[in-house]
């Protein structure tokens, strides 16, 4: 075939941001490659299913793929990804925050280059916090204090408690913030040790269970995803919410559309994810996605060039401005345009920098499924739940139970 190779990039759906960058990078490559964009389904689970199916069949048409942060280990372990060379790794890592970079690593090798990140923040209504006499922006603000304050005001804490990945995000953040881990020695794959039954896991169970059973829980907690949580928080009963940074922009556009009062937006405060124990910094939930190169790609060098271009500081910063997805570069948050659009830019950067990833394991789907199965519904969570989750998870991973 003559002419430059056409790289196929499987993207997660967005508003055209990735396609724009692909075009810019192809133009700037001086004819080294052109890019064809293929859009994956909208939710991460279905994206994974499609990519796994294709890669298991050694599909050489996957040159570059956008991969949710939780799947790096599974794909890398299966041999589906082409690792970045040490030179590429050095260039890709430059200036990027360490926490998102870690989500792209498997066994000390970089398989996926961070292209966007995310971290949950604590959102609160300033007037209600003031009335309750608490300061959520205090570094030592804890879940217990938050629940007490909400109960005192007769208001709600919005969380994601539906039977889906978002609930796993919550549980994982509590366990990590308490100093524990859902899975110990995750690199051992099948032989990794579930370790929820610990001081941290017990405290996490206490927080989830007691919040869910209290009047501070949103009435739809068991089916609530991000948007339902936002609706409760913006409503009359909202006081606290744990959610991603997009909610501020969403609230602002709701005002523009006339569905929300400006006074509500003015009353929204934000702070770092609350602590589990007062003496231990929290681990804010980390999200985002990375760019990986298919192991069967015919043009790995060109694909690596595309990844380096698309994850450059300038491109990622612009993506944050265009698409509202937080950058993986510390420097992006000093950009005046970012600081104007994000009054909480420093908070987002610090939350990402100290964010806690979900377990990096080839069995992530089993681990998350086991945790969600045993911890749902939230009001059923009690002191036995962490040990039950451990036993179930171990059985599922070793093939002694069906998930």
């Amino acid at each position: 075939m003559s002419g430059p190779p056409t790289l196929t990039w499987y993207i997660n759906p967005d508003n055209g941001g990735q396609a724009t960058r692909a075009q810019q990078c192809a133009d700037a490559s001086g004819g080294a490659y052109t890019v064809d964009i293929q859009t994956l389904p909208s939710d991460a689970t279905q994206q994974r299913e499609q990519l796994v199916r294709r890669l298991a069949a050694k599909d050489s048409s996957i040159d570059v793929m956008s991969l949710d942060v939780i799947y790096t280990a599974e794909f890398a372990n299966a041999g589906f990804l082409r690792p970045y060379t040490p030179a590429e790794t050095a260039r890709i890592s430059e200036g990027k925050l360490p926490a998102p970079l870690k989500t792209g690593m498997w066994k000390d090798t970089l398989y996926a280059a961070p292209s966007k990140s995310n971290a949950q923040l604590l959102w609160f209504r300033k007037s209600l916090a003031k009335a309750a006499g608490v300061d959520p922006t205090s570094p030592t603000f804890t879940w217990d204090e938050m629940i007490k304050a909400a109960l005192g005001q007769g208001k709600k804490i919005s969380e994601q408690g539906a039977r889906y990945e978002g609930y796993m995000v919550w549980i994982n953040a509590l366990v990590l913030s308490g100093g524990g881990q859902i899975l110990t020695d995750a690199e051992a794959g099948k032989n990794a040790r579930p370790s929820m039954a610990s001081r941290a896991g017990d405290k996490a169970a206490e927080i989830v269970g007691s919040l869910a059973r209290s009047s501070a829980a949103a009435p739809d907690l068991t089916v609530a995803q991000e948007e339902q949580a936002r609706a409760v928080f913006q409503g009359d009963d909202g006081m606290f919410m744990l959610n991603w940074p997009y909610v501020l922009a969403a609230a602002r556009s709701a005002v523009e559309e006339g569905t929300l009062d400006q006074s509500v937006v003015d009353d929204i405060g934000y702070a770092r994810y609350p602590r589990v124990f007062a003496d231990r910094p929290s681990a804010p939930p980390l999200g985002g996605s990375n760019l990986a190169i298919g192991a069967y790609s015919k043009y790995p060098e060109q694909a690596a060039a595309l990844v380096e271009c698309a994850t450059s500081l300038e491109k990622v910063t612009q993506y944050m401005l265009d698409e509202g997805e937080p950058s993986v570069y510390a420097a992006s948050y000093d950009d005046p345009r970012v600081r104007e659009a994000y009054p909480n830019a420093d908070l987002i950067r610090d939350s990402i920098a100290e964010g806690g990833p979900r377990p990096i394991t080839p069995f992530y789907v089993d681990v998350a499924g086991s945790v969600i199965n045993t911890w749902h519904p939230p009001e059923s969570v009690n002191r036995d739940t962490p040990a039950e989750a451990d036993a179930f998870m171990a059985d599922v991973i070793s093939g002694r139970r069906l998930l």
């Binding site: 372990n77 080839p362 069906l402 998930l403």
Partner: protein, 309 residues
Amino acid sequence: MTVTATRPDTPAPAAGKGSDRARGERRLGLYLAAPSFIVMVLVTAYPLGYAIVLSLFNYRLTDPAGRSFVGLNNYLVILTDPVWWNDFATTFAITVVTVAVELVLGFGFAFVMLRIVRGRGPVRTAILIPYGIITVVSAFIWRYAFAIDSGFVNQWLGLGDFNWFGDRWSAIFVICLSEIWKTTPFISLLLLAGLVQVPEEMQEAAKVDGATAWQRLWKITLPSMKAAIMVALLFRTLDAWRIFDNPFVMTGGANNTETISFLAYRQNVSLVNLGMGSAVSVLLFLTVVAIAWIFVKGFKTDLSQVRGD
């Protein structure tokens, strides 16, 4: 060779003539069937055999290094796991309810299609339309009809905020309803084929002898179309037993509405747990064989004897 030659009770000339023809027919039959048989082996037997082999391993597609032989352990795990029996119960409930209702409704439709004189074409078409709709599409139609936010059923029945898909049995009810709506035409079509074969003279004779309509139905119509009923029941039961689309679209398997096919899909495709998933698939296959066997034995009908002559 010597054995047949010395056997006195097989007169060579008489048997020879008949068996020559029979042998020729059989050979022709084999030749005619051979190409499709070979294709069947290639596309069916190979994957089936491979699935059986896979089912003896603990094997994740994404953990190739962790592959290990476990013998029949996967089957043991599945058959002692509440997930399997839960899915089995769901599948069983859906199969029994839908096939029973469809058989009765299908009979009604078949009679209508047979007896109708005016507007036969439009009526037959109207009855058959649901069967022409893709299952996934029909599943979405019914899902939206019963949905809490956009559905009209709750409004019609004055049920307010009743969440049909929030509870196991109400969700299964909707799944059954959709399934029945979609596949009753299929069963009625098969029954119509049987009804047409019921000899009209026999009906006339019975009428002359003073048999009531009810007696004619039970003594003449049903016995004469036993093979057709059997075929319809068997096909529909096997179809219903492998139900996947409706639960997948309507509930995603939530609230204990997962069926056996769904379990096989989840293990194989979502969890890429090929060992366990293949074992589920093989078990599903065995249940299908068992159902077919029960039907064939239960009806005491030899399908190969069902001929037009």
